[in-house]
Each structure stands twice: as structure tokens, then as C-alpha cells.
Amino acid sequence: MNNTTEPTGGPASVAAVEDARLASKEDSLSQGRLVWRRFVHHPPAMISAVVLAIVVVVAVTSIGVFGIPGWWPYDYTTTSVSDNGGAPSSTHWFGQEDIGRDYFALVMRGTQVSLVVAFLVGISGTVLGTLLGAIAGYYRGWVDAVIMRIADVFFVIPLLLIAAIVAKTASGAIGSPWFLGIMLGVVSWAGLARLVRAQVLSLREREYVEAAKAMGASGWRIILRHLIPNCIGTVLVNATLAIAAAVLLETSLSFLGFGVKPPQSSLGLLIDQYQNSFTTRPWLFWWPGLMILLIALSVNFIGDGLRDAFDPRQGGRVKKRNLVAAALLGVKPVEVPTSAAPTTGRAGNRERAGQAASGTESPTRDKNEEER
């Protein structure tokens, strides 16, 4: 875009230039579209999204769901004689376990259950945390105090302890992945609620919120239409991280025997059941481990991509293309005239660009830590 105006080009004013620029603009993108655009240009996030999509599709279609059969010939409950000591083969891709059940079917069933648990935790925890955080931040006073003290209680009691107690009292229901997912979500909202509350505390002082109040908008309208949509970055990034954490949490709970119970299956339960086979039939341990790794990593990378998309302030390095474009505008960067450093021959501002770009790494990482 060339913004130069001829010095002799007649009267011009900032207002006129701005209006002309507005009239000449063609495409109009919402904030959501802009974020999406940046997200699809984030290679790790896009690769992860594809990997996650493949995992979900394979897990769902191979053995089917809700009684609809899939394309995989074996069932995860039927036992048979294991061929070849149960090692992976062209008929049993992931091998067979000790009583001859097909391990691919078992792992896919475990993946389904683990994904259901993880997404339930992510969704229920996110909805609860966002709503409670926004209410606490908007109304402040005693509402805030009550919600935040409850959050503190959930913070200080270890999740494993809560899970263990619930497992003892509700012995039948705990085995169901749906119950486990919702229960973990209900106890893990506190972190997000704090983040959302902090953001709402600053957003509520914005003039558009005051304007809405002055118009006579109700508290609910302000929370749902103005505050929560403007927290969506924090909420989405946190939801993905919560899902990744939930995969691991479900694994550890099931491993300890507090989570999903047989005859249901989950990735954590598979690892628990076959931990003794590690030396004799290591694939019984590796396959569910690999699936856990794939899911947790890809969800985490998607979260990173979302964060970068919502917060585009990082980056900003001068590329060769920029230099070419700048040269067309008459800007030809000068060489460093006298430099003690052995970087002579490089353009001064380019050199600074490189240093500053590497410097931007650390704040990103700090932010990363903070949000976890």
C-alpha cells in the first residue's frame, strides 16, 4: 500500500484521507476470521489438527460406535487363540493380548473412551469456569468472594484425592466414562475461573461496557454478549490445554484404579492392565502409550497455535520480500558504517531485527507458563 500523497496535491486532511481509505477497502474481516486466518498459517497447529482428526476418525470408524459396526473385522470383547504369541501381524495390526483379544480393537475402544472423557472434562470445566469467573468478575463484592473461596477449596484439594473418594462412594457409576468426564470437569474449573475473572475485571472498566450499562443493558446481557466473547482467546486456549491435561489425568486415574473400570476400556486402563507384559510383550504397553502421546501432543500444539493466533504481537521480523517492497518505496537500508562487532556488511537494522526476534522468545514462554 502506498500512502504517499503528493505535497502539491491540493488540500488534504487526515479525516479526508481516512474516509477515502475506508471507502476503498473491500474485504471486511471480523476478529474471529482474522484469528482463523493466523491459525491456519501456523504449521505445527495445522499438522496437529490433521493428526487429531485422523485419530478421531480412525477410532470412531474402525470398531464403530453406538452399536454401528465399523470396518475392523475384530471385536474388542471376543477372545480367541493368539497366533504367533500375540505379536503384531498383518491380520492383527497391534497384536493380541494374553487371552487372545484383538489389541487394535481394544486400543481403539480405549481411545474412544479417553477422548470422550477428555472432551467432557474440557467442555464442562470450560463452561463452568468461564461462567463463574465472568460472574465473579462482573458483580464483584460478596458474589466474587463466595465464588473465589469455593475455587480456592477446589484448588487446594488434590484431584486424585477427590477422585478416590468419589470412586469409593459411587462405586457403580464411576466406571462410566460419562460420569468420570463430568465429575473431573466439575472439579477442575477453578483455574480457568480465576483467569476469566482477572480478564473480566479489566474488561468491565472498558467504555463499551459502561456504554452498555448506560443504555440500560442487563447484567446477563453484558456478561454474555460483551464480556465472555472478549475473553474467548483465554477460554479457547485454556480449553485445549485442559483437554490435553484431562487425557493424562484420565490415564493416571485409570492406572491407579480410580477411573474407568473393566469391562469398559480406556488407554490408562490398558497400560495398567498390561504393565507386567512390558518385558515379554512390549507392544501391549507401547500402543496405548503412543495414542496418549499423539492426542496430548496434538491438542497441546493446537492450543499453542490458538494462542499465537489470538495474540499476534510476537514476530515482526524483516524478510527479504519486505526489503524489496521497501526499495520500491525508496527505502534502501544502509550498511553499518563502523562496527566493532564482526557483523560488518550486514544492514544495521537487519542485525537488530535478528536480535530482537530471538528476544521475543522468552516473553512467549513466560506467558505459556502463566497460562498453564
Binding site: S13, V17, E207, A217, V334, G348
Partner: protein, 566 residues
Amino acid sequence: MKPNSRNVRGEVVLDIKDLRVAFASGDDAKLAVNGLDLTVRAGEVVALVGESGSGKSVTSLATMGLLPPNAIVSGSVEVTGHQVIGLAPERMRRLRATEIAMVFQEPMTALNPVLTVEKQLIESLETHNIAFGADARGRAVSLLERVGIPDAAKRIKQYPHQFSGGQRQRIVIAMALTCEPKVIIADEPTTALDVTVQAEVLDLLRELKDETGVGILLITHNMGVVADMADRVSVMFMGDLVEEGSAQEILYRAKHPYTQQLLAAVPRLTDIALTHDDASGRLAAESAGASLGREVVLSARDVAIDYKVRAGAFRAAEGVSFDVAAGETTALVGESGSGKSTVAKAVLGLLPTAEGELRVQGKDLARLRGKEAKAARRRIGVVFQDPAASLDPRFPIGECIMEPMVIHKVGTKAERVARARELLDAVKLPADVLNRFPHELSGGQKQRVGIARALVLDPAVLIADEPTSALDVSVQATVLAMLKEIQADFGFACLFVSHDLAVVDQLADHVVVMRRGHVVEQGPTESVLHFPREDYTKELLAAAPVPDPDAQKVRREARHALLRGA
């Protein structure tokens, strides 16, 4: 330690030649400064003037070597003979403070709140190996005394928050002076300050320049400050240098149409009886201002407003009374902390009144609940100060404008859209803006959308809280003209909150001057602003700089006389 080398007057200390700066953005580059030439000599003030997007701040950053990493620079910037463009960071660091220093706009953010003033003043002396320990402290104390901080030896141990805004800016100036630089870049040094404080800080800068012979590059958008300070002026527009010359040449005989238009857009406040008491003139003005048959829409009677603080309540306003009639504009003026915005918030019902009565069409908003309150709010429109913050970034413009109608369930979807189009037309924005988003609009355009939103329900009262103080002069002129035009069409009563007396003079029928929560003086604009009764009003009027070097000199002397008298 360097001896206190006096600067040679007339020696070129800053020489910018054909400076071009572009910023990388995507695959493209956007030009911010397009071939700027500028020189600053020792002992002179050169003003770099322009509106937003003109490239004036980018120029100051380029000169200090503080450009962001995505900047592409060419050309030459010599600071006392040292080439700055392309200079290695370590060598640039050594030039800063000793050769070139900077005074920033916002003193609160330019000072580190967790360090004492002493540590911040000594820092640059020690990093540049000029003085250490007791020697450095002695220098720091004398610098503080020099910039007019009373009781400097004691106060140097204090933290920035213990000083007032004007004193903080004085400290920032002292920091810039620690290593006796040859050039000071002052980037909007008084924009964040009240007018009376601004006048004092400008006085200080003028004295320092005369005393030390430092060259000052003054970056500002305020033509009054230019007239008050500058020897020479360079005007920038959209990255181009459009005109340069002496202050007299530019301010009296501008050649370039842009400069002419810019100067024409500056609201001027002239013909003020500052030094003599013109009773007959005041009487004439008062009788002219009084009119019969006013329909009072908004009335305040002895209003007091409290802020809750930890130790009980802080009274932010007391004994405030005024009337606003339909079709009229009443302005609340005052400096920061005067309580003018507090009163506006109370009128909006965002703050309760502690005493007195505040009625909009006969109803006290803060005492209404539920449906009644909602119905009363329909009759009030509001325009806020910061256009960037007053529109929800996630709402398309159309939804922003229609929101009051949605809240009050007025009309069908089609009717709402039609009304929004009608208002966009009234504020002179194209109808397709309906589907655009706030981030695509400039500040002035956003403020126009804010006005359209305030008017969508045809309010009886419009409250405008500093609606133009965040805008450029030329944009401000168009917004003010539009506001006046729309008021004539719609006939609402307007409560206009502002610190800018010239703007108030242009727009308001009545003025209420406030100070520390109390009304100092009120009456018709013509009488209060041109034949002021109270000393405080006179001081405010004298402190506001006008874009006319000769008139400004007269006014400056009048102000000094006034302060001596008080």
C-alpha cells in the same frame, strides 16, 4: 568526568537527511517517513508538527535508535556528528543520555514506580561513568532543584507516586538532563498534563534551553505549544515533510494548503479580558446569553457525589447546580480531579448522588429501579472519550449502533437496520460500514459511530465526556461541526465535559468551571470565557496556549503577572 562544556550556540547538533522509514507488514512494506530533512541547532527549539500517521513519532524513535525490529530505515541521522542509522546497539547506547536524551509523553510510565527518584537519576550517571556515590547524589539533588522540585534533598528519596503529575514530568526532564546532552527530543511532553501544569513545564523547558544551550526537537500536535515554544517549525503529513520555516512564517503565512487547513481547524479562544476587569462587557455578554422559554431537560441542584474508598467516602463533587435545556449545550470544564467526569457519570446513573437532586426530565436516575430505570435510560445518550474502547471489538458497526434498540426492544430487524443507515448518513459515514468491524475504522470514524449509537433512540439528553480529546485537530473540527449540526436537527440537550476551553467556547452555550469538586464560576459562555470573574478561570484561560506566537507571548506575560499577583 567531562567538564561542563557549554554548547556553542548555532552549532548543528541534530542533522536528519533524507530519512526514510518503512515497516514490514506481511509481504509488503508500509512507508511511515518519506524523505525527511531536518536540522536542530544548539539553543533552539524545532517543532515537528503533524497529526496521527504523519510519522513524527517514528522520526523521534529513529533518532533515538529505538525503532521496533520490523522497521526498515535509510538515510542519515547525525547526532552531534555521530551517524545513528545503522549504528551498533552498544555504540548507540553510549550516545544516549550523553549526546541525546528523550522526554516522554506519559511521566507515570516513563518513571519506574518501584525505584526512588534518586536511583533513577543516578542510574544514567553511573552507567555512563560520569559520577558515582555521593558525587552523583549531589548532582541529582542539584538537578532536582534546577527543575523546580522544592525540598529536593529530602524528596529525592521518595517514589514517583509521591509526586504530582507536573512534578513527575519535571523529574523526567531532570533525568534527560543528567548527562548534559546536546539534544533533547521531547515527544508530546505536555499532552498528558493539565493546561496550567503544561504552561509551567513549557516555562521550565524554555529556561533550560536558554541556560544550557541544549537543542530541543519538540514533537507535538498542539499548535498552541508550537507558538509558545518553537523557533522553527516542520510540518509533516502522512510521512511527508510538507512545509518548514520559522514559527512566524508557518503560523502567520503558511503556504501549503495542508498547513493552512490544519491551522484553520485549531479552535481559538481570543478576546479575553485577562488583565482588566471589563464590567460593562460582561454585563452585555450576560444579557445576550439569557433567553426565555427554555425547556429544562436536565437539572442538578446542590449535587454531591461520594466515591467509596477504604476509609469511608471521598467526596468527589459538592454543591454542583446547573440546568441544561433542550437544544442547548452546557459544558463542564476543569482540570483532572475537578470532578467534571464524576458529575457526568452521576447523570448517567453510573454513580449515585450522596446529596442534592439530579433530574433528567424530572426523574432521578440513581433512585430508579428496574423497568423505570431502563425507561429513563432510553432518554439519555452517551459519547465517551476513547473511541477505541467505546465500541465492542467483536461487534460489527451495525450491531454497535443497533444495540440500544435491541436492549429496549424497539422496532423490527428491518426497522433497526433502516434507522442505523439513517444515522450513519447523519454522521457522514457510508452505509456499507454497517458490516465492518471497529478495528477497520480510524479514531474519528469510530467516534462518529459512537455519536450515531448515542442518538439511535432519539435521546433528550446527550452526554459527551471529552468526545474529541483523543482525536486529531482536523478530525476534532469535523466531529465538533457535525455534533453542532446534529444538535440543530435533533434538538437534544447536551452536557459536554471537556478540559479544552477553546473547544468549549466554540460549542457551548453555558459553562460550568469546576475545581476540586466545587463549582468556581458558571454562566453564559460569552461571559465566563471572555470576561472571567474568578482568578482560577483567568489562570485557566491564560494557560491555554494559542497558535499565534505574538498573542501567545502577551498571554504568557499576562499569566506570569496573574501568578505573581496571586
